[in-house]
Amino acid sequence: MARNGAVSWRSWRTEKIDGFDLSPSDTEEVHVLAVDDSHVDRKVIERLLRISSCKVTAVDSGRRALQFLGLDEEKGSNDFEGLKVDLIITDYCMPGMTGYELLKKIKESSAFREIPVVIMSSENVLARIDRCLEEGAEDFIVKPVKLSDVKRIKDYTTREFRVGGRGINKRKSRESCDISSSPPSILSSSPISSSSSPSSQSPSLSPSTLSATAPSSPSSLDSPTRRLKMTSSE
């Protein structure tokens, strides 16, 4: 099910991560940490992510998610339990620690605040959505989660690193950057407002991925949050 365009941008992107990663052999694919107390939902999200070529670690609580990240006992520690996490997707309603509380803890952590966090909920409550987005969630998915949702959130793992200069600039100094130096330098030099220009200059990247970064692209107008807002006002 891999698409040619997808493979090329993903392997380009992860070479940036490899350079920074503590376990370089691990990150060929996007690694997602999925948090959901429902066993059924965990299995479904796991499958959705795997079929979208992601590595998945699924845990059943916010506490376990923090433990996996190494945030639980040792606050601010950089000791990774395992693979580096590229994206966190969490259910909102969970006993103990809600997805919102987990989101806050992640955003409060200097080590992990840059990891995009997506919230899932079976309830389409605007106030809840707004609260999560304000706290720094990348997106809010109304359950049941579909394949198209997963494909969309995968984009956050690339966009984050390319656009805000967060990933690329910090991780640029490794030799693995030289392998595909032209695309990142073009993108990191163009801020989000003018990202329409690189599309013709980076042939190794799929156009659909690049258009995802441009604010004027259809995908941002079509963003789930807008869709949700429109739905809930009906």
């Binding site: 429902s38 066993h39 059924v40 939902d41 299995k43 479904v44 499958r47 959705l48 079929i51 309603c93 079976s122 359950k143 049941p144 579909k146 394949l147």
Partner: protein, 129 residues
Amino acid sequence: MILLKAGYLDEQFIQLEELQDEANPSFVQEIVTLFYTDSARLVQNIEQALNGRPIDFSKLDDYMHQFKGSCSSIGAKKVTNECSVFREYCNAENAEGCIRTFQQIKQEYATLRRKLEAYFQILRQAAGA
């Protein structure tokens, strides 16, 4: 697919079927099995909560929220809809409404299981042929 047409299942079930491939040929069946195993506990909890005097509606809503979530995740349309009805009665603290609706839920839940078992049986036979 007939179960879809008859309203027992919705698009979500089809979505799950689309996640099957040669490496994971029984994904849907595994999910359905997991659903029934996992939700049995919730059904029991709801039953017990409904027998409490006084009824703890908040706890009831909590259990039903979880149960409804799982139903929706496998595309169990009729059951999910009944769950919504239940939650409305629950919010209104209408014990009789809850009890009545829960009977409906259990029926739909059992009916669906039978129909899905038959469906998987047919699929197995077709695969074996």
